[in-house]
Amino acid sequence: MLKSVLLAVTLSLAALPVSAQQPVPAGVDPEQEGLRILFDLGTSGIRPDQREILDQASRLYRDGNPVVMIVTGSADTVGSASENLDLSIKRARVVADGLVARGIPIERLQVLGRGNSELPVPTPDGVANEDNRSVLINWR
């Protein structure tokens, strides 16, 4: 049920290439955990203390890289599932915008919103877990 909602919402977003497919492409190094950007409850703005994570992500991206950088948004389980899906996509897009602003080619980004599915820290509904209010950036 959630997955179909997720697909419907992602298809309605046009400006950035947004996809609901499973994000791990061939060649992913499981050792590389990626970089995680945290958000405040119910918001999708980048906190000043999280900007340096965006800087780190763009800093490691080599020129000429045809490999997609995956930007995956999540939300904690406070609020309704559909609101959280919406929020997770907003967060992922804000992070993607931040990466593009830092010189990452837009066509190299894959933006995913996962709402409350596949949470970094699985919790019951109504739990304000900070790690779940996050966007994961990984690639390769």
Binding site: S58, R59, R62
Partner: protein, 391 residues
Amino acid sequence: MVSQMKTIARFSSTGAKLAKGGVTALLLTVWIAVAAPAAAQDYSSGQDAYANRDWDAALRIWTEEASAGSAEAMLGLGNLMDFGLAGPADPVAAFDLYSQAALLGNAEAGFNVAVMLDSGVGTTTDKRAAAGWYSLAALDDFPRAQYNLGQMYALGDGVPVNSQLAALWLGKAVPAIPPSQDLIDTLNRTDGTDLSAPDILQIVMLVDDEAPQARLAWASGAGPEGSRYRIEVADGAAAPGARAVTTTETTASAVSIPLPSLPEQAVVRVFQLTDLDYAVSSWTGTDGEIVDMDPLATVRFQIASDDRRGLGYAERMGSSLQRSGITVAYDIADGSAENSAVFYGYDSDAGLATNVAEFLPGVAGGGANRRSDLGLAPGEVLVRIVFLSEG
């Protein structure tokens, strides 16, 4: 006409690949050329093939061009190895290819060398070396290099904390990377209190159809207000007296200097200086090793053309100074000077100037004086000699 030429080019390359097939293969090739122009793509360049994700074609084109010395092709091969597009990813081979291209002056390759050194992919992590390669790419107006280098100076990551250089490089990146301005706004903009000798990070000598040039980068802490960098490039193989030095000044931490000729053994030193004083690095070779090379100092005598006693004295003193490794120059300057005097431009040269003054009879005031209006270089002491004319 153009498409016909392209077909011929592809015919020959495909024919070579299928040589064992003989006539049949050649006929097949011709048939493909006529019947299916879109099936087997012609690419004007390896980059064209790469952009079309035809990794095999890119590999073929770039391998040939790289063996002929093309830096762009080495970069492209590096990309293929780096991202596993022509077999399993081989970051070590990619780092090697990027490095070769970077040494030929390719900014993108230099940037990738820097990123790999920065993150320890394909090589061991070396932030200082990363800063050197970021600096050279930044010099080529590569915005992401400017942005990354600015971050390193803002954080003191691999280089000293230096808000002056952080602001300078981030400022250059702002048009392409707007978040650079956010970082500039968070900088704690403080000038340094002391001068410190810059740390030379990277020297690349380039020779192409143009004049030879030295491209170099250094790291430095923030200097006092108004401080800047002075760069000297010389030929370490030339005789000390005949050593031409090319100089330039900048507030940045990387520079490209056109040279009148390619030095046999290029050596470089970098000053951090204000109008009052300086701190200078050792002479450094292109391999990054310190070169034990005198002189660091120059004594310039100024004598009137009719002052024969003065000239004789200057020559005796000059040859003595030369024996202790100091470069000596003699200028004939008629006119204004009334007294012998010793001048220096920077406080660090006061010691040498005072020593020279003590050997010189009749110096007004008995010592050396700092003068900023005489155009004296760092390490340079001016000795005006006025003896009584013999008439």
